[in-house]
């Protein structure tokens, strides 16, 4: 604990030092920063100079120094400098003045030439610059267009590829689905077949079972009770009916398939079929059959 307290004192001291240093630095920086704020008046003067000699700031140096359009003035001939001293002096002064003037004029011309050259150069340069820029811009535009075209093409290609991929995927899925369906159908068929076999086995089992005999005897009793036998239904009369029943035993349809009896017999058997509705239910639902053949054959 005590060690950590000393550590803390050290770190506090260091922290104070660091802060003090930062504050000091800030103050110095602020001082330094304040100096340039006084210079703008000087900058305004310099700006005048810049106007007289147009600079080409940040412009790349011309590949070749501009060639002066006007050749330098020819040197003065000596024949003209032979007067007396005064006159000579005067002449020299005059000559000097004239030279001065000529020089100044030449300088001025030269300066003007220089300016013009510089301006032309500047203009040319600017034009070149513009041209370069325009060219570059055009190039860039062309590049952009080409890129856009390429992008479009790429996109189209990508789309086509994606579509093709999607189609392939879809085809694959469809094929899979079809396979699955076929398999399901096959499975269903097998299941159906098994169920049918089972049901047939069951049916075969019940068909020969007492349950069926019981069911038939129930139906027989029911129809027998319902058949009011007319006097004309004598031995030798035979009538066949097809009865359709629905689950629950309700008789929905009766067809007289054949009957050698008279109209009264025919009426009686048909009526009996409807009177027997609803038919009794089998003890085993597997025995239910919507179609029943009934034969009326009075034994006298």
């Amino acid at each position: 604990m005590s060690e950590r307290r000393s550590d803390r004192i050290v770190s506090i001291a260091l922290s104070i030092l660091v802060h003090a240093a930062i504050v000091g630095a800030l103050l110095w920086g602020w001082w330094q920063y304040r100096q340039p704020t006084v210079t703008p008046q000087n900058l305004a003067i310099e700006a005048t100079v810049v106007r007289d000699a147009p600079a080409v700031p940040a412009a790349p140096a011309p590949s070749a120094p501009p060639t002066p359009d006007n050749p330098p003035p020819p040197p003065p001939t000596p024949t003209q400098a032979a007067p007396d001293e005064q006159a000579l002096q005067q002449a020299r002064d005059q000559q000097a003045q004239a030279d001065q003037a000529a020089r100044e004029k030449l300088e001025q011309e030269h300066a003007a030439q220089e300016r013009a050259n510089q301006e032309r150069e500047a203009q040319e340069h600017a034009a070149q610059e513009r041209a370069a820029q325009e060219k570059q811009a055009a190039q860039e535009q062309a590049e952009r267009a080409a890129k856009a075209e390429a992008d479009r093409a790429a996109a189209a290609k990508a789309n086509a590829e994606r579509a093709a991929a999607a189609k392939a995927e879809a085809d694959r899925k469809a094929q899979l689905a079809q396979q699955r369906q076929l398999e399901q159908e096959r499975a269903q068929r097998e299941a159906d077949l098994r169920a049918q076999l089972a049901s047939e086995e069951h049916l075969n089992a019940v068909q020969s079972s007492p349950a069926k005999a019981e069911y038939l005897s129930l139906i027989t009793a029911r129809i027998n009770r319902a058949w009011i036998r007319p006097p004309s239904a004598r031995s030798g009369v035979k009538c066949s009916l097809h009865i359709t029943q629905i689950p629950g035993g309700e008789i929905t349809h009766v067809v007289v398939a054949g009957c050698n009896g008279d109209e009264a017999v025919r009426q009686s058997v048909e009526t009996a079929a409807y009177r027997a509705s609803p038919l009794p239910a089998p003890s085993d639902p597997a025995l239910f059959d919507p179609n029943i053949d009934v034969t009326f054959a009075p034994d006298e």
């Binding site: 027998n224 007319p230 009264a264 017999v265 034994d299």
Partner: protein
């Protein structure tokens, strides 16, 4: 021949209604349609095969809806009530009570099948009486099978106010035949002998009535006994024995007109006439001078007599087989009365038919020739029995103490006979299966020897 003086002849003019071929049965179309359907689509053979061999003889539930009336031309006659009574009395039908009917449609198209089916009916009969002229009435009826939902048949009868009862019986016949496949006998007539009062003021009457006992008409009245009426096969004549001249004589009388002839008034007994099926002969019992009763054959056209039996025993009560080739008769040649059969072509060939009881008499052959009805003694009672001629099986049908004179209805479905209920004589019918008995008429006197007439021609 001689018209006796002490018997009064009455000649009623019975009103007969006539059936008309009309209202073509829908059922024909249905049958054809059913057959076609059967041909086009034969149903597969079903797993469930049922064989019905018995059935029941329950009465068939039927509703006879009151007919639409033709007031006042119909005289207020209730056709449906007569039909209902006819069908109910046959024992083959169980008519719905009128008070249970919710509606009274008079044509097939107005019948709400579900309602009548819910009431338990198999069939519904609807009809209407309409006046087509001042005197002529049409009676139309429709028979509907409620269970199958089909109109079985329709029929029109032409009648008048006086023959509406007969028309009603024809409606009954129509329904009966369509439903049962057997011709109805409601529009036939019966004849019987009624005895009123006691000696010496007894009066004998020969009466003709509708088969249901209604509409009785006296066609002969006498203070002397009248016996053994017998119908001619054409239903126009009655032969009978009358003692109006104190001696027995056999007469034939035309029912409609009262015209009559004495056809046998020989010495001794002249009795038990029976028309041959062709109507040309009478079989009858004659005693001759020696008093021995034998069966003879009388040619009505020539009055020629042919002896059929020649036996010292009593041979009497002849009855024709429907084919006219044989005669059944009662004889006591074996001791007690039994029934025998002779071949008219070879009268010596005689066959005994009844055994069992010590008393079997008064034979009558069924219209199909297959059964014999007669009186048998069972215990101390005389009852109506029926014997199957092929098998010899005998069934006793009646339950009275002194039942006599059985006579088959022309459709063979019923037998009419006379019974006694204390002092009251009654006419009764019994179905040939013995299941249905019906009392037609009761009188303070006696009613004897009912005979059921043939179908009108």
């Amino acid at each position: 021949m001689n018209n006796p003086t002490n018997a009064r002849i009455a000649a009623p003019l019975p009103a007969r209604a006539s059936p008309v071929r009309g209202g073509k049965p829908l059922v024909l179309v249905l049958v054809v349609a059913t057959a076609l359907v059967g041909l086009l689509a034969p149903p597969a053979r079903a797993d469930l095969q049922v064989l019905i061999t018995k059935g029941v003889t329950d009465p068939i539930p039927i509703a006879i809806v009151p007919f639409a009336r033709a007031v006042p031309a119909d005289g207020g006659f209730d056709v449906a009530a007569v039909v209902q009574h006819d069908l109910e009395s046959s024992g083959r039908f169980r008519p719905m009570q009128r008070r249970d009917m919710l509606t009274t449609p008079s044509s097939a198209s107005d019948v709400q099948a579900a309602d009548w089916k819910a009431a338990g009916n198999d069939y519904v009969v609807v009809g209407r009486v309409t006046a087509v002229s001042a005197t002529e009435l049409d009676v139309d009826c429709d028979l509907i099978n409620i269970q199958t939902g089909t109109r079985v048949a329709s029929q029109k009868f032409i009648a008048n106010a006086a023959s509406l009862r007969n028309a009603a019986h024809l409606v009954s016949d129509f329904v009966y035949s369509k439903v049962l496949g057997v011709r109805g006998a409601f529009a036939t007539r019966i004849a019987y002998v009624a005895v009123e009062g006691k000696a010496p003021t007894r009066r004998f009457q020969l009466i003709v009535a509708d088969a249901d006992g209604e509409n009785p008409k006296v066609i002969l009245e006498s203070l002397q006994p009248i016996m053994s009426p017998a119908w001619s096969p054409d239903e126009q004549w009655l032969a009978y024995v009358s003692f109006e001249n104190r001696l027995s004589g056999v007469y034939v009388q035309k029912v409609h007109t009262g015209e009559r002839q004495l056809v046998s008034a020989r010495i001794g007994v002249n009795g038990a006439p029976a028309y041959s099926p062709d109507g040309m002969h009478l079989a009858l019992t004659l005693s001759g001078t020696n008093g021995n009763l034998d069966v003879w054959l009388l040619d009505l056209a020539t009055q020629g007599l042919t002896r059929l039996t020649d036996d010292p025993a009593v041979d009497t009560e002849p009855a024709w087989s429907p084919d006219g080739k044989s005669i059944y008769f009662t004889s006591d040649r074996a001791g007690g009365p039994q029934i025998y059969k002779l071949d008219i072509a070879q009268p010596k060939r005689i066959e005994r038919i009844t055994f069992g009881s010590a008393y079997n008499a008064r034979p009558r052959v069924s219209p199909d020739g297959k059964k014999l009805a007669f009186v048998t003694r069972e215990g101390g009672n005389y009852r109506i029995a029926i014997q199957d001629l092929a098998s010899g099986t005998v069934s006793v049908l009646s339950h009275g103490a002194l039942d006599e004179s059985p006579s088959f209805a022309p459709n063979g479905a019923e037998i009419i006979y006379a019974g006694r209920d204390g002092d009251v004589g009654t006419l009764q019918t019994v179905s040939v299966d013995g299941l249905v008995t019906q009392r037609l008429k009761s009188d303070q006197g006696e009613v004897r020897e009912p005979v059921w007439g043939p179908f009108p021609r």
